[in-house]
């Protein structure tokens, strides 16, 4: 990287807006995934104009650009795979407009997910997508990854709540797509951009829908002695057309790890629990909760607890949302998968995951969005143990292959990133990928923006994966 690139960026943003020291760059070489890549320089723009200028400067120097929110992503989407300039949106976090009457908000990409809800809750409104990292993750990151969360079962993922975007294209041009009104004129570019993992454009402003908070909420905890009973309950709920606002499953092993850490009141001796929430009119919630409780008991739930007040409810959710932190205490690293399966295949898939764990001699926890079939198997490993890490990667691929075999997909909400790009041919034909590539090139012809993501690089899976333990081991030594 040239010193003149840093100088130009500093003259645009001031010295406080640019990081280029090796020790400063360290914290930007990771995100929430197991991947790692170091940018050459990190910049903190304050405006769309500055983002556009940064892009033009990077282009003149022929270096790639990658956008980043809070770095909580789980697929390597916000890593500078080929180095270059990383644009961090931490200083563009303002909520620009709140329109209570029409239920819209306009925010900058660095605005934290939960801060938007806090800014509108006085009017009884909230922003629906609720990834577990919502206290720190940014809405720009949510847009890039099309983030989900527990309550997307009822309310949809990020794309269902985004109406318009301001973009900075890879040539530095600023373009607005969509807007505050629904049904934008022309092609649904907003629908294409949300979930495009920062590979088409940098998002500098987001127009979202806000929802009204429900009148009543009931949270149930159903406790099971076998995993099968819990998964069969989910299949039955779906078949009976009962749609809760959230339906999360936590297996017994994971539950105990969480309980030690969070003290949410989860039972130590169960094989698994379902955390189910129903929302809506008081009349609807009461009957739905009763119906759900009946289905749980019919599938041999040992006990169905109903949270008595907000405090109990928040404690249960705290347990769910802090699970990853809890598991971090048990093993040096964990690999979080994100496969999705048709919901009727839950019981057999959970059994298969347990088998794969035994086969590779690995502990695999399960804590996931059962209601929409979005699995999050957590493969625990020690990165210093190269052989174990290799097994963890192979076990993960076996699980994802199985998801696809039963009619599912690679990722439900975390994104493909640089983690699953080599697996894309399992789902998509050459023709499918070629068309996606053409659409990519329509926006980002030189791949200067977030290169090395989503699309397979053409190496075999093994070739890429086997590099990891060595790289990581070397770093840790």
């Amino acid at each position: 990287m040239s010193a003149s690139l840093t100088r130009e960026l500093e003259s645009l943003l001031g010295r406080e807006g640019v990081l280029s020291g090796v020790e400063d760059l360290l914290m930007y070489e990771y995100d929430g995934s197991v991947e790692k890549a170091r940018p050459d320089v990190v910049v903190f723009p304050r405006s769309t104009r500055e983002v556009s200028e940064i892009v033009r400067i990077a282009n003149r120097h022929g270096v790639p650009i990658v956008g980043r929110g809070a770095g909580t992503g789980l697929s390597g989407g916000a890593l500078a795979r080929n180095g270059g300039v990383m644009i961090v949106f931490a200083r563009m976090k303002r909520i620009l407009e709140v329109d209570i009457e029409n239920r819209r908000a306009v925010v900058q990409p660095g605005a934290v997910n939960l801060d938007l809800t806090r800014a509108v809750e006085h009017a009884g409104l909230y922003f629906a997508p609720d990834p577990s990292s919502q206290k720190s993750c940014t809405i720009g990151g949510n847009v890039a990854e099309n983030a989900g969360g527990p309550h997307t079962l009822a309310y949809g993922v990020t794309t269902n709540h985004v109406l318009g975007l301001e973009l900075v294209l890879p040539d530095g041009a600023v373009v607005r797509i969509g807007g505050k009104t629904a049904d934008a004129l022309g092609y649904d570019l907003t629908g294409l951009l949300v979930g495009s993992e920062g590979t088409l454009a940098l998002v500098t402003e987001i127009t979202v829908k806000l929802l009204r908070k429900p009148e009543a909420v009931k949270t149930l905890l159903a406790i099971y002695d076998t995993v099968d009973d819990a998964t069969e309950t989910v299949v039955d709920l779906t078949a009976r057309a009962i749609t809760p606002a959230a339906c999360e499953m936590i297996d017994g092993w994971t539950l105990r790890a969480i309980e030690d850490y969070v003290h949410a009141g989860f039972p130590y001796d169960s094989a698994g629990v379902l955390l189910i929430e129903v929302e809506g009119l008081t009349e609807a919630v009461t009957s739905q909760a009763a119906a759900i409780s009946d289905v749980c008991l019919a599938h041999h739930a040992r006990e169905v607890r109903v949270a008595r007040d907000d405090r109990e409810r928040e404690l249960l959710w705290k347990g769910r949302k802090n699970a990853f932190g809890a598991l971090g205490r048990l093993a040096p690293s964990n690999y979080v998968l994100d496969g999705v399966i048709p919901r009727s295949k839950l019981p057999q898939t959970l059994r298969r995951i347990a088998e794969i764990g035994r086969q590779y001699d690995l502990q695999i926890g399960n804590i996931f969005h059962a209601g929409d079939g979005n699995l999050h198997p957590l493969v625990l490993y020690d990165p210093r143990d190269a052989a174990q890490f290799g097994r963890a990667i192979r076990a993960s691929e076996d699980i994802l292959r199985y998801c696809i075999e039963v009619g599912g997909t690679l990722t439900g909400e975390h994104g493909v990133g640089m983690e699953k790009s080599e697996l894309m041919p399992l789902l998509f034909s050459d023709a499918d990928l070629e068309l996606m590539r053409r659409v990519h090139d329509a926006f980002n012809p030189a791949s200067s923006l977030n290169p090395g993501k989503i699309f397979p690089l053409g190496k075999s899976c093994g070739e890429i994966r086997t590099q990891h333990p060595l790289q990581r081991g070397a770093e840790l030594l």
Binding site: T243, P342, L427, D432
Partner: protein, 493 residues
Amino acid sequence: MTASATTIAARLESIAGVEQVHAQSAACMRYAVDDLAPSAVVRPANAEQVAEVVRFAVAEKLAVIPCGARTKLGIGMPPARYDIALDTTRLDQIAHYDPGDLTLSVDAGMPLAKLNAVLGEHAQFLPLLAPWYSRTTVGGTIASGVDSPLRQFYGTARDFVIGAEFVTGAGTLAKSGGRVVKNVTGYDLHKLLIGSLGTLAVITRVNFRTFPAPPAARGFVASFATAEEALRLRRRVVDSPLSPLTLDVLSPGLAQIFATRTPATPEVAVFPGESHSSNQTLLRMLGNWFSPREWHLCAGFAGTPEVLQRYERDLTQFAADSRATCTTVLDDATRPSVWGRLRESLSMLCEASPAATIFKLSLLPEQHTAAFAKLDEIAERASLPSALIARAAGTIYFGLLPEQSVEKNAENLARLASAATTIFDLAAHEGGYATIPFCPSGLKRRLNIWGTHFVSRMNLRDAHRPDFALMQRVKSAFDPNSILAPARFPGAI
């Protein structure tokens, strides 16, 4: 038939079979778009044949317009060229339906009503109650991007289409998405196809999430002397804890059409309690509680008996507070007559006049009060009858309905054109936009139905908007030779 038409037909016959190709002018006229008829019509049996037809068109530089039941084929500017009508109605199978997963994969040519009848056997449905319901196909509904009254609760197609298979303008069979309800693997290309009017690809199959049919449904109608009062009630409902399935405001003009006409489309049951043979119900005139001189708010809601009671109680109270002159709760016997008309609002508006000109305005809900008043003024100034329906999501459909065709009364064309310009400006001024999805072909020769951004045919290519430059690039990625429905889309795409 010209010689080249003969050659085209012969080649198409070799792809799809002799019986599936028509080149006689009478048959081609049935596929005409804005008075332009294709040289041949082909009805492929499967996606591979669709791809072969498109590849043939690419090789011969022929323009193709894909279609289903052709109920909404009029949406768009006149095509720059039109050689082959690609009729997808033989692609009419359900490829996968997993009721236990609430997911569905269905061929593009399947009629929506027929599909919902199958889903109904499993107490499920697709919340796309599109106009021309009994005939319209899955592919046509998606490609035309029409909404339905149920968008209030279920959203639009972009909220429940989870994948698609299609043939690009290069003749390549491709797909995106999948058959699971949550998926971020690869680009959501299927979202681009919604409302694309066949300009990007020929849709051959669509994957949906399906929805459980509610246990019971009811309707509610309140009448008002003024639009302000009807909108005040709507505001009250939106601010309340209620989440109705539909929430539409109708002008007296539309109430008049509802009260005096019956939709040409026979009724098809969607929700429980609706009889499959309820043609009689729909054809029945509305009761005297539906006053053709007043504004109306129509709400639909569903749930258990306790939930239905809550809706009835709250809605009746809110309506009284908003000075409703009359309120009615619709049960299974009376509800289909109103819901069927709401669903068919667009087709009924089109049938109400030989020169029906229907505008779609995308505005914010709170801009409606002012917009209604201005639209009323515009109709008055043009001396034309009018009718409108406004969805709580912000969309307004506004029809100008001359009594005579533009051929009989040329002055109507001038009136419509002048009104259109004012309406485009009005929407743009509010930060929204207006288009004209349905109008006489003659009007398209005078103005661009996609609004003020595209004033004349002269400057169509420079779209004035950088987002349309992006759309042009997306178009080129899918259809590099611009053979699919050329020039029908905004920006002459």
